[in-house]
């Protein structure tokens, strides 16, 4: 590949290290603890073509999810597409770089952070992404900058009918005291078969405040693996909100390391699965320092033969006194065949901490259903209202109104798409 030749030595080295690592471990199997319930053989067994360049529907897909008033960055098949991006209103305090060009040009901060937030040993798919590291976007927020304009990364994948694999990569470095809201939408042509293996690294500087919205609306036949890792410095605030309604198999690994005192993080998500989808979310919160707080709330709606996996790991290290961590995982099963494996995993080494976790799996409240119906709502309207209320707690946290409206609409569309859901 030409890009391999052009890349600076440090990129080649990091790529090579990751390639070696992936060669050594290969695709995860269900014998591995973190992959017990998620069989990725359908991914490993498929010969995906490396995705290069754009595809016919890419521009239409990108505009279909446009968020008014945002700064749009397009990633097409893993590559930064400047032509499909909208950088006309670049706010003050922001630097944007395509990873390939940035690495070539020696963009300040790239070498310091790219592939540094990650532990590739723990994440085989992130190693695979890094081994294929070629392009993507980097967002640098200057210290003290408060960026009002939301940044919307639109990640589209497709191969005009060819099964492609893409490895999109995002790096966010938020300087001390800065504020920024970033959304990343994943979308493909409905019915397309592809593999999207995304990685995002986020560096939250001292006292910085970063919101990250992960919006997964991939094709219903796609495989979607995304790995987000954030390092939060002292008094930094990081929030992640994951919204998942697409893909045949989804695997999210979201890891937040609170590496300085007084940090705060939120890790929320809502997913909706029907048919024979698998929605797997693994979260990891690393409380390394004292006086940090974390709030985690995941909500799932499962119909048909859908399966979900939720694994919420919280480590409170010996120095992390006065930690306050709360984790909640709730799921609604709408059919007898839907299943969830929910597993809170608390590892607490400090003695003066507050950690709570709760998991609840249930069905729709039939008394509430009857109450709504007895006022004249059809069974479907009543159910949609209750499901929307269930998801609302997470959707309300989306602080980009135009995106929230879009997600609400997508949520109702998803509710209506399946026979199991619609009955």
């Amino acid at each position: 590949m030409e890009t391999l030749v052009q890349a600076p030595t440090w990129v080649k080295e990091r790529r090579q290290l990751a390639a070696q690592r992936f060669a050594a471990v290969g695709y995860p199997t269900t014998r591995m603890e973190d992959w017990r319930f998620t069989n990725v053989a359908p991914i490993a067994d498929t010969k995906f073509a490396a995705a290069h360049g754009s595809f016919a529907q890419a521009p239409a897909l990108i505009s279909s999810v446009g968020v008014a008033g945002s700064l749009r960055l397009a990633i097409v098949n893993g590559q930064f597409a400047a032509g499909l991006s909208d950088l006309s209103t670049l706010p003050k305090g922001i630097r944007i770089a395509g990873l390939r060009d940035g690495a070539r040009d020696g963009t300040d901060g790239l070498e310091d952070h790219l592939a540094k937030v990650f532990n590739i040993d723990a994440h085989p798919f992130a190693a695979l992404n890094t081994a294929n590291l070629d392009d993507g976007v980097a967002i640098f927020v200057a210290a003290g900058a408060s960026v009002e304009t939301p940044i919307h990364i639109v990640t589209v994948t497709g191969g005009d009918g060819k099964a492609v694999a893409a490895h999109p990569r995002v790096l966010v470095v938020a300087g001390a005291g800065s504020q920024v809201r970033i959304a990343q939408t994943f979308i493909g042509v409905p019915g397309d078969f592809y593999f999207n293996n995304a990685v995002a690294e986020v560096v939250v500087g001292e006292g910085a405040n970063v919101d990250y919205y992960l919006d997964q609306r991939e094709s219903e036949r796609a495989f979607h693996v995304a790995n987000i890792q954030a390092h939060v410095a002292a008094k930094g605030v990081f929030s992640s909100h994951a919204f998942s309604i697409g893909a045949r198999i989804q695997r999210h690994d979201i890891g937040i390391a609170l590496k300085g005192e007084g940090g705060d993080c939120t890790m929320n998500g809502v997913y909706l699965a029907d048919g024979d989808r698998l929605m797997d979310t693994h979260t990891a919160l690393d409380h390394a320092m004292p006086h940090c707080t974390s709030h985690e709330l995941y909500k799932g709606i499962l119909a048909g033969k859908a399966r979900a996996v939720f694994n919420g790991r919280i480590i409170v290290r010996i120095d992390a006194q006065k930690t306050d961590a709360k984790q909640t995982n709730r799921a609604l099963l709408l059919s007898d065949d839907a299943t969830i494996n929910s597993n809170p995993q608390l590892e607490i080494f400090a003695d003066d901490v507050k950690c709570t976790h709760g998991a609840a799996v249930g069905q729709l409240d039939e008394e509430a259903m009857f109450y709504l119906q007895a006022r004249g709502l059809t069974r479907i309207a009543a159910r949609d209202m209750l499901l929307h209320a269930f998801a609302g707690e997470v959707l309300e946290g989306v602080k980009i109104p135009a995106l929230r409206d879009q997600l609400e609409k997508a949520f109702f569309t998803a509710l209506a798409r399946d026979v199991e859901l619609a009955k």
Binding site: A368, Y371, A374, G376, A382
Partner: protein, 251 residues
């Protein structure tokens, strides 16, 4: 005839609760159903509203000449049947105004009327709130969530006022109300009395009937109506209690 109940038998979890109820309600009438605990009066209201936990084993219910029991609960509601719940359900995350607007528009659509937009809906609602002395803030709260007992009952009557039913079933609306709340709720009901609207008021106590004066009073005991009479029957029950009102005492 608005409502004709003939030999209605209802079972709840394998236990026969109603053992053959006959009742006829004409337009504009208010019927009170009284009886001791466990007599089946709430079962009667819930069965008419279509609660899935109440199995109809025999009998017939005609509503405007149509088979009511053949309709889903939501269809009954859109056709003008309203039940004020004894225990209104708390529904976190569902905004009271949003829900009520959806309910009203479902009914309007069914009637072939235009759906109301948010502005027109608020106009309708504001008037009703005033009559029932309900604070605006109740609109923006989740349905019944964290409401006091009195607020819940008032919210039920408020829903009724907005939905303007043809047949209103009030299931122990007086329980849990203090005297002031009882007066407000009753005034709300009385304001809605009209020749086109009928009420079936289920209550344990005569007290409510001082405020909502019924045309007819029926005494339910062990799943049967054992006595029927005018409003004075309620006063008699207040004095003598339900003892002696068992099956057979009718003679």
């Amino acid at each position: 005839m608005l409502l004709e109940v003939k030999n209605l038998k209802v079972r709840v979890e394998d236990k026969e609760i109603l053992k053959g109820i006959d009742l006829t309600v004409k337009s504009g009438q208010v019927h009170a159903i009284m009886g001791p605990n466990g007599s089946g009066k709430s079962t009667f209201a819930r069965a008419l509203s279509g609660h899935p936990g109440y199995e109809i084993t025999d009998g017939q219910v005609l509503y405007n000449g149509r088979d009511l029991l053949d309709m889903d609960p939501d269809e009954r509601a859109r056709e003008g049947v309203f039940m004020a719940f004894q225990y209104p359900v708390e529904i976190p995350g569902v905004n009271n105004a949003y829900f009520l607007k959806a309910a009203l528009n479902a009914k309007r659509k069914h009637q072939g009327l235009d759906e109301l937009d948010a502005m027109d809906f608020m106009k309708v609602v504001k008037e009703k709130l005033k009559v029932l002395h309900i604070d605006d803030s109740m609109l923006q709260r989740s349905v019944n969530e964290g409401f006091s007992g009195g607020e819940k009952k008032r919210n039920e009557i408020f829903h009724m006022a907005v939905l303007e039913p043809v047949l209103a079933l009030l299931d122990e609306t007086d329980s849990g109300l203090d005297i002031d709340a009882l007066r407000v709720v009753s005034e709300g009901v009385n304001a809605m009395r009209s020749p086109e609207r009928s009420f079936v008021v289920v209550t344990h106590y005569q007290r409510l009937l001082n405020y909502i004066v019924p045309d007819f009073v029926h005494v339910l005991s062990e799943g049967r109506i054992v006595r029927s009479g005018g409003k004075e029957l309620a006063l008699e029950l207040e004095e003598k209690g339900y003892v002696g009102q068992a099956v057979g005492a009718r003679k």
